[in-house]
Symmetry: none
Subunit: 233 residues, 4 copies
DNA sequence: CATGAATGAGTGTTCATTCAT
DNA sequence: CATGAATGAACACTCATTCAT
C-alpha cells in the first residue's frame, strides 16, 4: 500500500540552535520560536521575494523582535536558506519494493503520484517555494543546487522508475526516459508557477489544476493522434 | 511563407521622451541613449535580478551617467517595466490565412512554430525575461498582466489554432484545446526556466533543449502507450 | 626595609554586593564571582579596549552568564570603573620614616623605587591599565581623576620626596621639584606606552625597558654635558 | 637658517578621490569636502575616541550628510586612517647640511627643535593625534606602524643626529644615542598626553608645557648632580 | 540566585533620486 | 542637456540591558 508516510518525504532539518555554547545540556523549552520564524519567513519570502522582505516584518509576523530573529539565524541569508531547506518538499517517492506490489497500470501510478504531490503542496505556503527558488537562484546558487538535489532529481527518479516499469511491462513504448520524465514533470512545474505567478493577475485562462494534471498525463499517455500511432518519433 | 517579420512581434514602445522642455528643437539627435540603456538594463536585470541591479551599473554599462538615466526613465521601476515591454517577444504567430496555406500535418506545424520561437530567444538576453517576469510579478503586477496579454494568450491562441485545425482535419482527437495547449506550452516554459535557472548549477541531468522540445511534442502527439490507444480520457 | 607590603598599595574596593534581597542568608558563599569577573574584564579591556570588549565575553571568560555579570555590576561602565579601581597599582611609596633610614644616595633610591614599580607591573595584565586610562579618560572622566589621585600624585609625591632629600643633602642641585619629578616620571610613562602600544608593531627600535629606565635616571642625574656643568638653567 | 619650510615636514597626503572613474578629467571644483570631513573627524575622534564617534556627527559637523561622507570615504575605518595619515605631523627635521651650518651648542639645537615642534601642534586639534594613536593602535595596527614610521623614527633620527654632533664636538659625553634620544623624547610624549588626557581633569599639578620642555632638556643636559659628575653610568 | 532568551535603540552602510552646475 | 555630488530614508545587524523561569 501507498501510505502518506511511506510515500511522502517531507525533509525536516534540525532547527538551528542559537550559537550552541559547547557543553550546554539545553533543555529546549520551546521549539516554537525558530518554527514560527521560519513560517513567517516562508510566507513573506514567497509573497514578496527575498529582497523585498524586511527581517523586521518576519520578526513581527512571528511575534518576536528583530533581535530574537538574529538570535536564531545569523543573517537574513541564513534565514532564507533555512526556509528553503525546512520546507522543501521532495517529490513523491515510491520505493522499488512498493512499486513492485502495485499492479495498476503505470499510467495510473503516474497520475496517482503526481496528483498526490500536488495535493500536498498546491494550496499551501510551501507551494510558493519553487517560484522562490526560481527567483533567487541567481543570487543564491546553493539553493538551486539544493533544489536540484532534493526535489528535481528524486522526482525524476520516481517518474523514471514508473516509466521504466511501464516500458518493461509493455504498457509503454520504449522512449527516452529522462526526456519523457521531463515532459511529465514540466506540466507540474508549469502549473505550480501558473497558480503562484499568473493566476492572481489573469482573468483568463482559468485553469483547474487537478483537471489539467490529469489531462496532461492522459494526453501524454494516449497522444493527440487520432489514428493508430506508431510514429517514428 | 512564414517569415520572421510576419511571425515575430517585437513590441516596440514609444521610448520615454525626456520631459520636453518648452522650446525643444525637436531634432531627436540621439535615439541611441534610451536604447542603450534598455539593453544594459536587460542584461543586468536578467543576470542579477531587479533588486540586485544598481541603476548606476545600468548607466555605466550604457556609457552614460546616472542623471541621464533618470532623464529618460523617471524611476528604476519605470526602467524595469520599459525593459519588459521593449524586449518581450511574443510567441510565434501564424495568421489564419497563413495557416490555411500550410498543408503540413498539424503536429509538424506545432513543432515548427515552437522550435522557431525557441531558436529566437533561447540563447539571448531576452530569453531571461520570462524568469524575470516570474520573479518580479508579485511586486510588479502590471508586468504579469502584460506578459499574459502579450505572450501567453497569443501563444495559446496560436497553439490552439493549430490544434483546432488538426482536430478538424481528423489528425488529432477531440481534446480540450486550452488544456492541451498548456500541455504543449508547459514544455517550453519548463525548458526556458531550466536553462536559465537550473542548468548553470546542475551537473545532471544534461538537457538538449532542441531534442527535448521535439520529444515533448512528439510524445504528446503519439502518446506513451504501446497499444492502439482510444483511452477514455 | 622596603618590603612589597609597605611599598605597594593595591586598592581593594568593596566589591558590589548583588542588590541584597531582603532576607538574604548573609552567608557570602562565593566571593569568587566578582573577582573572576574583574580579572576577565581586566584582561579583555586591556587587550581590546573598552568599546571593543563585549560583556558577554567577559562573562564567558569568567565562566558565568551575562545575567550574573549584571547582578554584580549594574552596567558595563560600572564594571570598567571597578576594574580600574581594583587593579590600579599606585606607584611605589616610601614612608618618610623609611626614607630617613636609608643612607644610599638619592639617585640610587630613585632607581630602586622606579625599577621596583616597573617590575611589579610591566609584564602583567595590569600594566595595560595606564594605556586604558589614557584611552578612555575622555569618556570616563572619573577614572582620569581617580588615576591622578591614586597613581600620579602619590608617584610624584614619592619622587619629589627623594629629590627633596637629595637636594637637602647636597647631592642634587636645587631644581624645581615638580618639574623634575615629571622628567623622571616621563621616562616610565613613555616606556609603559611603548611596550603596550608600539612594541608589538615595531621591528625597530628594540628597547630593553630595564636598561632604558636605568639609563634615563642616570642621564638625568649626571647630565649629557661633558664639562663640569653649572648651567644657568 | 632654520625656516618653518625647511624644518617642518607636515605630511600632506593626496585626498581620496571619490571612486575615481577611470578616464575622468575631474575638474575638482571643491577640495573642500574631504578636507572639512577630515577636520571634523579629527576633532571628534580626538575628543571622543573612535568608537564613540558617530559618522553622522562627523558629517553633520562638516556640514554634509552621511551619504556624502561615504562618498569620500568608503568606511568609518577608512575615514579614521585618512585622518591619521592626513594630520600626522612628523617631528621637526634638520637636514644634515643645515645642521652643519648651525654653530649653536647641541643643547640649544635640541631645545629649539623640540620647542618648535611643540608649538606647531600643542594647542591644536592635531595635538590629540598621539593620544588617538595610543588609544586605537590595538584595533588598528596599521596606524601604529604608520606612526612609528612617520613620526617616531624620524623624530629619533633628528634627535640622534643632534646628539651625535654634540658628542663629536665634545659638548656631550659619549652615551647610547637611541636611549638618550628616547629620554629626550619621553618628555615630549609625556607632556602631550598630559595636556590631552589629564590636564582637563587635574586641579594639580599645573604644568606649563613650555617651561617643562625647557626644564626637561636642561636637566638632561646638565644633570641633577650638584658635584662635578663623571659617573660610571 | 543564576540563567540566557528577549528586547529595541542605535550603528554603519547602501542606493534611488534630486538638482545645481 | 549631461553630469555626478549630495541627499536621507531605509536596511541589516549589534549588543547592553532586562526579566521570566
Amino acid at each position: 500500500m501507498i501510505t502518506d508516510q511511506s510515500v511522502i518525504n517531507i525533509r525536516t532539518m534540525s532547527l538551528p540552535e542559537p550559537a550552541a555554547t559547547p557543553a550546554a545540556p539545553r533543555v529546549r523549552r520551546k521549539d516554537a520560536r525558530p518554527g514560527e520564524l521560519l513560517e513567517a519567513a516562508l510566507h513573506l519570502f514567497v509573497s514578496k521575494g527575498y529582497a523585498a522582505t524586511r527581517v523586521q516584518e518576519v520578526a513581527a509576523m512571528a511575534g518576536v523582535s528583530k533581535g530574537t530573529l538574529f538570535r536564531y539565524f545569523p543573517s537574513k541569508q541564513a534565514l532564507f536558506e533555512a526556509v528553503v531547506r525546512q520546507y522543501m518538499v521532495s517529490v513523491i517517492q515510491l520505493g522499488d519494493a512498493e512499486l513492485d506490489t502495485r499492479t495498476e497500470p503505470a499510467s495510473q501510478l503516474l497520475q496517482e503520484a503526481l496528483l498526490r504531490w500536488w495535493d500536498l503542496i498546491h494550496s499551501q505556503q510551501v507551494g510558493g517555494l519553487p517560484k522562490l527558488v526560481v527567483s533567487e537562484s541567481e543570487n543564491f546558487p546553493s539553493i538551486a543546487q539544493f533544489y536540484i538535489r532534493e526535489v528535481i532529481q528524486p522526482g525524476f527518479g520516481l517518474i523514471g522508475k514508473i516509466l521504466s516499469r511501464g516500458m518493461r511491462s509493455g504498457e509503454f513504448r520504449n522512449l527516452d526516459i529522462p526526456m519523457t520524465a521531463q515532459s511529465l514533470w514540466s506540466g507540474m512545474s508549469y502549473m505550480m508557477l501558473w497558480e503562484r505567478v499568473f493566476a492572481p493577475h489573469a482573468s483568463e485562462p482559468r485553469v483547474d489544476a487537478h483537471a489539467f494534471i490529469k489531462h496532461h498525463i492522459q494526453t501524454l499517455c494516449h497522444g493527440l493522434m487520432a489514428a493508430p500511432n506508431r510514429g517514428s518519433n
